[in-house]
Structure formats: structure tokens, C-alpha cells
């Protein structure tokens, strides 16, 4: 793998050097550019290999038999053992967990975006008594570690389930609402600063044309906030898809008869903990591959937006 990278990069280095010499007008410092380039590619390729090789190894291992994984971890798979995937999908329940996660993350992100931008819009655009207090209440949630909430959160959800059964422990609706609550601080914070930068002239024109507050928000302001919504949306999808602590706390079956509504992340960690007893390494790697490839594929297609979204959201 590393050698393939090396040969691919060599022409770039050699063609780069004469071009830089031709355009050189900076003086002595530029003579080192070729060396620097070579040096750069060396280190960058090394780290690139450190990132990619373990991932490729996991994918390759998902096609091996258990015996081969233990005996010959460095070798390529001798055949394509698809049964690892069917084992992971059915016995390891990766399939069910995958769809559970899709349900919760879809609900969670849609509701987070809707409620988050509603709050942010009202706080950013309408002065009223208590506005600052509510804003700071949301921002306070950004600075406190989630561990501060965990123990009572379990009790809150358990008590809620005693009165409203479909919002109790191990329910999708509850987990969606919890995800929304824990995603709100950052979403509100981010969208608040975004709505403040939008021009007021268009909003005023819409009001003159007779738009109500609600129409103004849904038909004018929300479409104008689209770039911000995309950034924070990507941020929330990745954050909620990868969440593990909250579902581990809240999505355990309460009795043997309860359905297992666990998330994908929980299932994977369960597989890895149990493999010590069952030794089904093939299924573990297949489960990892199933969990890994879709999100990597989506990322590679939308890489520019994802990178800009995540880094932009962080720097706000």
C-alpha cells in the first residue's frame, strides 16, 4: 500500500520542482521548496498510511475465517467469506441496530434543527424581557460535562416512563427527545449568531407584504439561513450517529421480555466484549465494516461540506 502511494507521488514532486524554479522570484528561500516538498510528502504519507491501513485491515479481516484471522492476521483473505456479514447482520443483530439508529438519528436531527432554529431565531430577533436569561441558560449547557447529568437523568427518564409509558427507558421517542435536549445548546448557540448576521431589510419587506411572524420565519428567514443549517445539520448527524454514552445508559431492556432497541454503537461494543467468550472475530470485523462503510462513503461524497461544516461549527 505504502509503495503504491510513493510511486504515485514521485512524478508530482519532480514536475513540481522545475515549475517552482521557473516562477521563482522570491530569492534564496525558494531553493529549499523541492526538499521541503519531498519531506512533506514523506510525513504526510506516513500518517495517511497509519490512518488508512488499520481501516483496510478491518475490511480485509471481515472476509476471512476466524482461523485465518488468528493464524495469519497480515495475509489477504483467501476467499470472500460473506457468512461473516450474515452472522453479524442476524446473530449479531447489526441489521436491526442499524435501522434503530437510522430511526432515532433521523427523528433526533430533524427535531433538533427545527426546535433549535426556532429558539435561536426568537432569541436573536425579538427583544423581550428574559431573552438574555434564556440565551445564557442554553449556553450554560455547552460548558458542563455530560457526566454531571447522568445519574439523575436515568431517574428522570424512569419516572417519566411510569406516567407516560412511551417516553420511558428503552423507547425510541424518549431517546430522540434526549438527543434533542443535549444537541440544543450548540445548535441554539450556532444558529443564534447566524440569524443575527442576516439582513433585516428582507424581513421588513415581507412584513410590509403582510407576512405573519410564523410565515416570516418558515418562508423567509429559514431559507436564508440554509448555509448555517447545513453546517449544524452535518454536525448533529455525525454527533448523534456516534453517540454511545446516552443510549448505553437509557436503552437497556428493562426485563427479559422487552425488545432490544439498542443503537449500533452499543451493539458493536457488545460484540467486541462478547467475542472473548465466543471467538467470532469474523462477525466482529464484518459488523465494524457495516458500521463504517456507509458513513465513510457519505463523507467522501460530501467531504467539502462535512469538513467545512465541522470545522466552521467548532470555530464559531
Amino acid at each position: 500500500m505504502a509503495t503504491a502511494f510513493d510511486t504515485a507521488s514521485t512524478p508530482a514532486v519532480t514536475t513540481g520542482a522545475p515549475r517552482s524554479a521557473r516562477r521563482n522570484r522570491g530569492g534564496d528561500g525558494e531553493r529549499g521548496a523541492g526538499v521541503l516538498n519531498f519531506f512533506s510528502h514523506g510525513f504526510l504519507l506516513l500518517w495517511g498510511a497509519m490512518v488508512v491501513l488499520p481501516l483496510l485491515w478491518a475490511v480485509a479481516s471481515s472476509f476471512k475465517t476466524d482461523a485465518q484471522i488468528s493464524r495469519d492476521p497480515l495475509g489477504l483473505p483467501t476467499g470472500l467469506h460473506w457468512e461473516n456479514f450474515s452472522n453479524a447482520w442476524t446473530t449479531g443483530r447489526i441489521g436491526d441496530l442499524f435501522f434503530n439508529t437510522v430511526i432515532v438519528v433521523t427523528g433526533g436531527v430533524v427535531l433538533t434543527m427545527l426546535l433549535g432554529s426556532m429558539v435561536a431565531y426568537v432569541l436573536a430577533r425579538y427583544p423581550f424581557p428574559g431573552n438574555r436569561a434564556i440565551y445564557f441558560l442554553f449556553v450554560a449547557g455547552l460548558t458542563l460535562p455530560i457526566f454531571l447529568a447522568l445519574v439523575p437523568l436515568y431517574q428522570v427518564v424512569a419516572n417519566l416512563g411510569a406516567t407516560i409509558p412511551f417516553l420511558g427507558l428503552n423507547s425510541y421517542a424518549m431517546l430522540i427527545l434526549v438527543y434533542v435536549a443535549y444537541s440544543l445548546p450548540f445548535t441554539v448557540f450556532f444558529m443564534h449568531s447566524f440569524f443575527r448576521t442576516l439582513p433585516t431589510a428582507i424581513a421588513e419587506a415581507a412584513v410590509v407584504d403582510g407576512a405573519s411572524h410564523t410565515t416570516l420565519f418558515f418562508r423567509v428567514m429559514l431559507p436564508m439561513a440554509k448555509p448555517g443549517l447545513i453546517s449544524i445539520g452535518i454536525f448533529n448527524v455525525i454527533g448523534q450517529w456516534n453517540q454511545w454514552l446516552l443510549p448505553t445508559l437509557l436503552m437497556q431492556p428493562q426485563s427479559g421480555a422487552d425488545e432490544k432497541n439498542a443503537m449500533l454503537t452499543q451493539g458493536l461494543i457488545e460484540l467486541s466484549v462478547n467475542q472473548g467468550y465466543q471467538g467470532d472475530y469474523g462477525a466482529l470485523f464484518a459488523g465494524m465494516t457495516i458500521a463504517m462503510l456507509p458513513i465513510l462513503a457519505v463523507y467522501v461524497i460530501f467531504q467539502r461540506q462535512v469538513q467545512a461544516g465541522l470545522t466552521g461549527a467548532t470555530l464559531k
Binding site: G26, V151, L284
Partner: protein, 313 residues
């Protein structure tokens, strides 16, 4: 615009605010209140015990160990991650075609960025499980097998990774191995972050520097780095929060979730064990408060140290 303003505001705020207060604010407040009680289980019988839990914390060896371990991550993780990320961002941006002002990027820099960023989009659960396999302590683990093939690991004594409590530079080896995983998982994101910040620096600053005779390396250290101050400061806070957490890594990668022999305990493992294995809810809540106080002090420190006049361009 006047008519119906307050009903509209209330209508937009009531549902999100209710969710937020029920699931986030009320647990936070309850944790603080519970930390002064001896609430010990599901019976809801709790008596006020004042600062008793906090006094007990100061004598709890496991908890103090966990604090030390988090402090280790708090020192090591941001420094190593930020230095590596800056180094790679430098390599990515300082090279490239010469003779032009500004930060350009080496050949293929966008491919490097895509690849380096992979761990950021993967779930911590996937990364933790992957590293569990890389760190397998028999000769079937990827790292052990490569080491044996190259010859720097003895086949009869494969490396023990997160099973190894023996100290290295005064810190249990298991913590260094955990550190490596988190650095691996974080560097790419911060490299892309710094890289984006570098590229947003306007060209004319570089042109001015080049007219004054500055070389590429000079401009990096005298112009680019100082202008990254804000990004580095933000990165520090974020990585600090990672270092205070660490729970999932310890949970998946270490024996007995904090072992061997408590040599990799962190805040999270000790607290959740007290609460959900021993039923000591009041005591666990005191740990949560201690951790939050730690985080707040840290954030405030960072803000007051990092605050400086912002350069707008």
C-alpha cells in the same frame, strides 16, 4: 409587526425549553442537590449529610487516582495533538509551488485532508473496537504481528498494550496506549481546522512579508502561526473536554474497565461504577460535581489566558 408578538415568542419557545429543562437542566440541578445527601439506591430515602460526600472524596484512593489520570490526559493530549496537527498543517500548506504569495498547499493536499479526517466521522465505538483488535495481546494482533515480522517484538513476549500497568516515565503504560488512540483519532480534525484557518489568512499579508524579503519558512513562523492563535485556543478547550471524558476508551480498551488494578481509572469509570454497580448515588453525584467544577475552572482559565485582542481581516 407588533400584533401577536408575545404569543408567537411563547409558542416558539415552550416546547424546546421544556425538553431542555426536563432532560438537561433538571438533572444538573438534581446532581448538585443529591451530592449533599446519602441517597443510596432506588428507595428514594435520602438524608442531608452536608459535605460528607466531598470529605469522603478526598480520602477515596481510586477517585484520586482517576483525577490524576485525567490530569495526565489534560496535560499530554492537547499538547501532542495540537503540535502534530500544526506540524501536518504546516507540511500541507507551506510546501507547494513556490514564487507565489500566500498559503497554497502541496500536491494532493485535499486528498490528504480527506484521509486524515476519516477518524473524525467514525464513531468512537468503531475506533475503540478497531484498536482493541490492533492491540490484541497475543501474536494475532496487528501491531504485535507486524512487530514480530520486523523483529522488534519477541514472539514469546508480545506487547501487552492496555493490559500493561508498568510505569513508563512515571505513568502507567496503559495510559500511554490510550493516549495514542485518542491522538490518532483527533489529529486529522485539528489539522483540517488549522489548515482552514491558515488558508483564510489574506494574501496581501504574505505579499507584504515577501516584499520585505521573508522566506517561506519565515512567513510560516512569523505570520501564519501568530494568526492561528484563536484557532489553537479553541482547539485547546475542545481537546481539554476530551481529556476530561475518556470514558469510552477506558471502557472498551482496558481490562475491568479501568484496570489492570485501577491503573487506568478516570472520572467517568469511577463515578458510573459507584452509581450503577454500588448504588451510591449521592456519592457519585458529588463526583460529578467535582468533575464539572474542574471543567469550569479549566475553561475559565483558558479563556482568561487566551483572551487577547482579536485580529479582524
Amino acid at each position: 409587526m407588533r400584533h401577536g408578538k408575545y404569543p408567537f415568542i411563547a409558542g416558539f419557545l415552550v416546547l424546546p425549553l421544556a425538553l431542555y429543562v426536563i432532560f438537561l437542566i433538571s438533572p444538573y440541578v438534581q446532581t448538585i442537590m443529591n451530592s449533599f445527601t446519602n441517597w443510596g439506591g432506588f428507595s428514594n430515602q435520602a438524608e442531608f449529610v452536608g459535605l460528607e460526600n466531598y470529605k469522603q472524596l478526598l480520602q477515596d484512593d481510586t477517585f484520586l487516582k482517576a483525577v490524576l489520570h485525567n490530569a495526565f490526559f489534560l496535560l499530554a493530549l492537547p499538547v501532542i495533538t495540537i503540535l502534530l496537527a500544526l506540524f501536518f498543517a504546516f507540511l500541507l500548506n507551506v510546501g507547494g509551488r513556490g514564487g507565489r504569495a500566500g498559503v497554497r498547499g502541496v500536491f494532493g493536499s485535499s486528498i490528504y485532508k480527506v484521509v486524515f479526517f476519516f477518524p473524525q466521522v467514525l464513531s468512537v465505538a468503531i475506533i475503540a473496537v478497531l484498536w482493541q483488535e490492533l492491540y490484541r495481546t497475543d501474536a494475532s494482533g496487528l501491531i504485535n504481528r507486524i512487530g514480530i515480522a520486523i523483529g522488534f517484538i519477541d514472539e514469546n513476549k508480545p506487547w501487552q498494550f492496555t493490559n500493561d500497568p508498568t510505569p513508563f516515565l512515571g505513568v502507567p503504560s496503559v495510559l500511554w496506549w490510550l493516549l495514542l488512540v485518542v491522538v490518532w483519532a483527533s489529529v486529522g480534525f485539528y489539522m483540517v481546522l488549522f489548515s482552514a484557518a491558515m488558508q483564510s489568512i489574506p494574501r496581501d499579508i504574505y505579499e507584504a512579508a515577501m516584499l520585505d524579503g521573508a522566506t517561506r519558512i519565515h512567513t510560516f513562523f512569523r505570520v501564519t502561526l501568530p494568526l492561528l492563535r484563536d484557532s489553537v485556543s479553541v482547539a485547546w478547550v475542545y481537546i481539554g473536554f476530551l481529556a476530561l471524558d475518556m470514558y469510552v476508551w477506558v471502557f472498551v480498551l482496558t481490562p475491568q474497565q479501568g484496570g489492570p488494578n485501577h491503573s487506568s481509572e478516570v472520572f467517568g469509570t469511577v463515578m458510573l461504577r459507584e452509581a450503577f454497580n454500588y448504588g451510591q448515588f449521592g456519592y457519585a453525584c458529588a463526583m460529578g460535581v467535582a468533575m464539572a467544577a474542574f471543567a469550569l475552572v479549566l475553561g475559565a482559565l483558558q479563556l482568561s489566558v487566551g483572551r487577547r485582542e482579536r485580529i479582524e481581516y
